[in-house]
Symmetry: C2
DNA sequence: TTTCTAGTTTAGAATTATTATAAACTAGCT
DNA sequence: AGCTAGTTTATAATAATTCTAAACTAGAAA
């Protein structure tokens, strides 16, 4: 996988989603996507990292707005697994997770690592939006 | 399955978990467990039902305390699937769920209705606490 | 029975995560 | 350069939950 350290790519990406490439969004893009590996984060953690010893701070409201916009645009995936706090994933491919109840961390499980040989039919008029397994683990 | 409409059973049950059989706890037990079918609920919903046109109200703090105590005692199971709100289940057997993103309701999937033919090994030093699948559905 | 005390309930305050508000700012078209 | 819709920001509001501390009570002991 290629590391994107050029802003032009993000500018295009944002424009293609009708999101103006503001300096705040580009800074967040750079932080989230300029890396070899995908990762999981909470808004709280992202806010800390983005504003860690930086002179120009991005407001918490913007962090929330941007995470929501990126999720709607399909750049991020929301993982609902924890009590009272949303997690986000820069890995947008369909995949499963371990959720460690001790340190409250998510770990990816590749889609092929879980095989569902029997899955129920959804109720009438409803369709399956998502079938991703969360395996809760602890010491 | 037998409907428990006698309080003595709940008194024993509570005592066996080192929970004093107070009138609040017994009222909540009666509401939660005196029925043919298990069900899912939020604390907000339980609070409304318990206090619906009743003269003696149970405080919201007690509803929270009791739900937590019952969960710790194993009378209830917590289902973490929704953003910002916990769900509880009077079905304490291991089983799976549909979660309808439209009306935010849970529906049981019997344990035998999902077969996992391949499951990954948890990380070193960690063990699987729970492997229950939530299938998100929508119209 | 009455007394005692740890456990429980309660109203209200506090906390945490998140969303809403509205004024100031800015990307980017004209 | 001027305009304007989109964006950022500080701050307030909201929602779910947890905390606090005073009042109450179950039930053991006297
Ligand atoms: Mn919340
Ligand atoms: Mn909360
Ligand atoms: Zn992931
Ligand atoms: Zn259930």
């Amino acid at each position: 996988m290629i590391i994107n350290d050029n802003l032009k790519m993000y500018v295009q990406k944002l424009r293609s989603s009708n999101l103006r490439p503001t300096k705040q969004r580009l800074k967040i893009c750079k932080f989230l996507f300029d890396r070899k590996k995908t990762f999981h984060f909470t808004v709280e953690a992202l806010n800390k990292k983005i504003n860690k010893n930086k002179t120009t701070k991005v407001s918490l409201a913007t962090i929330y707005n941007t995470v929501e916009a990126f999720t709607n645009a399909g750049y991020l995936k929301e993982i609902l697994t924890s009590k009272n706090k949303s997690y986000y994933d820069t890995n947008i491919k369909s995949h499963h997770h371990f959720y460690d109840e001790g340190n409250k961390e998510l770990t990816d499980i590749h889609y092929s690592q879980i095989k569902l040989s029997k899955v129920p039919v959804p109720p009438k008029g409803k369709k399956i939006k998502n079938l991703e397994v969360v395996i809760r683990i602890q010491k």
